[in-house]
C-alpha cells in the first residue's frame, strides 16, 4: 500500500472543518489526479464524455455492471471485456469479509485478483450494511453491523471503509455515507445528511492513495430537496473528482425520484462526472442520462437475467413463459450479442431452470443490450440526435403498452427533450395530467 507516497502532500488535520481548495486546472492537466473528464458534446442537459481513469478510457453516459464478489455472476473477466465494458463495480461489504483487506493487498489488489485490466469502482459498504445485515447500528463513530458470513460483530468507520477500498485498489472508491431508506421521514434524514458531510472529511483524510484512486462523495437527503441542497453544497466544497447521488432507487415514487435527480444534476459541478447509484432499468437510464447523469450501476440487469428475463429493445422477454417455447426467433432480432447470434427463444426456454449456462447466456445478452443502449446515447449526443434516439427508444420499449408513464414525460420535459410518440390528446395539447 502506498501510504508513504503522500507523505509530502499537505494533509487536512483531523479536527479541521476547513474545506480544501478546488483543484487547479493545470494540476489536473499534469496528470497528478487519477481522473480526467472530457466532455465531447452536450445536448441540453445531457453530456457525452470520455472519462479517463488509471485503467483506461470510459465513454459516458456509462452503465457499470456489478461484480459483487470479484466476479460478475457466471461471466469471466474476458467475456465482460469482450462486450466492451471498461468499468465495473465490486462490493466492499463482501470483499472486506472474503477475502478481506489484508489478503486483497497481498494479492496485489482486485484488478490483479480477478484479472480485470480495466477500471473498477467499489462502493463503501454503507448500503449493504444497512440493507443486508441483521444488526446495523449507526453512530457518529461508524457503523456496527453483523458480518454476513460468520455473524461476527464488526465495526466500520469511514476510515476503515476507505482503507479497505485502498487495499482493493479500485480506480473510484465511494465515501462512506450515512444511508437511510428513501421512505424515511423525520429527524433521522437530517441527521444522515449532516453526518454524511462530516464523514466525507474523514474519508478524504484517511485516503492513502490520492494519485491512484478517486474518492467520490455521495449526496444524501432522501427526497427532501432542502436537505439535498444542504448536503450537496457542503460536499462540493470538498476536493473530489466526481460526485454521486445516493439514497435513491429505494421505495420512493418515480416523481420524487426524477425530481431529486434533476435537482442534483443542476447543482453538481458541470465539469465533473455525476454518478447516480443503484439505477439500471433501461427507461431510468435513458431519462437520467437526459437529465445530466454520467454514470450508473445496478444489479437489476444481471439479476433479472438469472431469473430468465431478457431486456430488449421492445421491452422485457420472459424466457420461461410458454409462448417462448415454440419461438424460433432470437431474443431480439438483429442483436449481435453471442446469445442472439446463436440461439433461439425456444432453446433458451428449454434450458432455463435446467442448465446453469442459461443464466450466463441471458446475462451476456442483457449486458450487451445495456452497453449498446448507453453507447447509443453517447453517440447520439455527439451527433446531435439525442432527441430522435430517445423517441425511438420510447417507441420501441413501450410498443406493447403504447403509452409512456407520466413521470417519464415529466422528466423528459424538464430535460428539454421533446417526446413525439404515444402522446394522448391531453399530452399533445401541452397538459401533463395524463
Amino acid at each position: 500500500m502506498s501510504a508513504d507516497k503522500n507523505a509530502n502532500a499537505p494533509e487536512l488535520s483531523e479536527a479541521s472543518a476547513e474545506p480544501r481548495k478546488r483543484v487547479k486546472e493545470d494540476e489536473a492537466m499534469l496528470g497528478k489526479i487519477p481522473l480526467r473528464f472530457n466532455i465531447l458534446a452536450r445536448y441540453k442537459r445531457a453530456r457525452a464524455s470520455v472519462l479517463t481513469l488509471p485503467h483506461g478510457d470510459v465513454r459516458t453516459p456509462v452503465y457499470m455492471p456489478v461484480g459483487t464478489k470479484a466476479t460478475l455472476k457466471g461471466i469471466t473477466s474476458e467475456e465482460l471485456a469482450n462486450i466492451g465494458y471498461r468499468l465495473c463495480l465490486s462490493n466492499t461489504y463482501h470483499l472486506a469479509s472474503i477475502p478481506g483487506a489484508d489478503l486483497m493487498a497481498e494479492y496485489g489488489g482486485l484488478h490483479k485478483f480477478m484479472n480485470w485490466p480495466y477500471n473498477l469502482l467499489t462502493d463503501s459498504g454503507g448500503f449493504q450494511m444497512v440493507s443486508l445485515s441483521q444488526l446495523c447500528e449507526i453512530t457518529e463513530e461508524g457503523v456496527e453491523f453483523e458480518n454476513p458470513y460468520d455473524k461476527r460483530k464488526m465495526f466500520m468507520r469511514p476510515e476503515d471503509s476507505i482503507h479497505i477500498q485502498n487495499a482493493i485498489g479500485a480506480d473510484i472508491v465511494m465515501a462512506l455515507d450515512d444511508v437511510v431508506k428513501t421512505t424515511t421521514v423525520g429527524p433521522r434524514v437530517e441527521e444522515a445528511c449532516d453526518r454524511t458531510i462530516r464523514w466525507i472529511d474523514r474519508c478524504l483524510v484517511a485516503h492513502r492513495r490520492k494519485e491512484e484512486q478517486n474518492v467520490f462523495p455521495i449526496v444524501q437527503g432522501a427526497v427532501d430537496l432542502k436537505l439535498r441542497e444542504r448536503c450537496l453544497s457542503a460536499l462540493i466544497q470538498r476536493e473530489a473528482n466526481g460526485f454521486a447521488i445516493g439514497g435513491l432507487a429505494g421505495g420512493e415514487s418515480k416523481d420524487d425520484f426524477w425530481k431529486v435527480v434533476a435537482f442534483c444534476t443542476e447543482r453538481l459541478p458541470e465539469e465533473k462526472p455525476r454518478y447516480l447509484m443503484g439505477v439500471g432499468y433501461p427507461v431510468d437510464l435513458v431519462v437520467c442520462a437526459c437529465l445530466g447523469v454520467d454514470m450508473f450501476d445496478c444489479v437489476f440487469p444481471t439479476r433479472t437475467a438469472r431469473f430468465g428475463v431478457a431486456l430488449t429493445r421492445y421491452g422485457e422477454v420472459k424466457i420461461k413463459n410458454s409462448e417462448q417455447r415454440d419461438d424460433f426467433r432470437p431474443l431480439q432480432e438483429g442483436c449481435q450479442c453471442p446469445t442472439c447470434k446463436k440461439f433461439t427463444r425456444t432453446y433458451l426456454n428449454s434450458i432455463m431452470t435446467k442448465a446453469g449456462v442459461s443464466c450466463h447466456l441471458l446475462t451476456l445478452h442483457n449486458l450487451h443490450y445495456l452497453f449498446n443502449l448507453m453507447l447509443g446515447i453517447h453517440n447520439s449526443i455527439i451527433d446531435g440526435t439525442l432527441e430522435d434516439y430517445v423517441n425511438r427508444f420510447l417507441e420501441d420499449y413501450f410498443s406493447q403498452e403504447k403509452s409512456i408513464p407520466k413521470w417519464v414525460l415529466d422528466a423528459l420535459e424538464k430535460a428539454e427533450i421533446n417526446v413525439k410518440v404515444y402522446k394522448n390528446e391531453e399530452q399533445k395539447n401541452g397538459s401533463t395530467t395524463a
Binding site: E106, Y107, N115, R325, D326, T346, A355
Partner: protein
Amino acid sequence: MEEMHARLAKLPTFSLVARRGALYQLTPHNQGKLDISHVTVPFADMLHMQRTLLRFKEKGFDARRFFGFERYNIILSPVIFSEQLTAGISRADAVKVQDVGLKEVTLSQYNQIATQLSPNFLVSLTEEPDKKEGGLKSNKRALTKARDMFSKTTQELKETAPDVKVLAPVLLTKFQELLEGHIQSLLQQNVAGLFLYGLSKNDDAETRAKRLQEVITHLPKEGKPLLFLSGNGTPEEVLQCTALGVDIFETDYPFVHAEKGFALSFEVKMPEETVEGERKQEFGRNAKTISLKEEKYLRDVGPLVEGCECFACKNHTRAYVHHLLRCDEMTGFVLLTIHNVARYSDLFAEVRKHLSAGTLDRFSSWFLST
C-alpha cells in the same frame, strides 16, 4: 466406412455428454477455447420439447444449429452412463424413457425425432435392463429388441435421413453367452459402429476388461466397426479400453469433477527417458485431482495446474478460483470446466500420439504410476 474413418481421423477421442441441452457451464465463447470434437445428446432430454422438435426441418434447424454445436459431431443416444434413462417394457416396438417419470416411446416416434435432429450418429433405440435386478430374461429381451430396432432404423433412415450414421447398441451384459449371436447379426448388416453400454459404476477394471473382451473377440481384425463406449471416462478406463480397441468415449468426466470443485491435475507428458519397469495393474486408481475448495489454496497465486496452457490457468489463479468456490460463485465452476476439458483433451492427444507410435503400453504404465 473409409469416409467416416477419414472424418474421424483423430481417434481415440471423447464425446462430452450435453445434459439438458448444454455443455455444463460452457458458453459458446468458452467452448471455442477447447478441443471438443464430439458431443452426446441424450434422447431423454429431448422428449419434453417434442412439439418444437417436429418443426425443426420446417424452420431450417437441426441439432447442431439449435444447440450451437455446429463444430461438433453429434451423437443422439437413448442411454448414457451416469444415469439410467430407459426402462424395459414387453412391447416390442417401444421403450420407456425418462421424462419426469417414464414415458413410452415407440421406435417410430424415436426415429421421427431423430430425423428432425439429424445428428451425425444415431444410437438406435434400446432399453437398459435394471443394473441390479436385471436377470437373463430382461437382458435377452434388451438385446433382441436392440437388434430388431437397429435393423428397422437402418432401413428407415436410408430414406429419411441418409446422412445419419446408425450405431448399433451392444449391451455389455453379464450374460456373455448372449453376445456372440448379437454381434454376428449386427456385423451381417454392415454396421458402421457399435455403441457399447451397460457398465455399472461399481464395475472394476477387471470386470470392464472382461465385458469388452467378450465383444471384441467376435469382431474382425480388419474392417472393425467403430467402437463407442459409454462409461465413466476415467483416465484408467481410457487407457485400458483404448488398448482394447475403443475409439470414442462418451463421458461427463470433466464436468463431474468441475461440479465438485476439482481441477484435473494429472501429468500427461511422459518424459523422454522412462525406466521400463514392471507394468502396474492399478487400473482402479483414481486420477489425480486437486480440490480448490481447500483452504491451502487461499494464498496460492499460481495457475490451477503448473504448466497447463488452458485459458483458466493462463489467466487466473488458484487463489481466485478458491475464492469463487468459497463464495459459491458460478464463475468458479466455469473456470474449472474450461480447465478440466482442456486437461482431458490433452490426455487424449497424448494417448493418440502413443497409440500411433506403438508406445501406449509404456505410457499407460508411466501414467498409472505417477
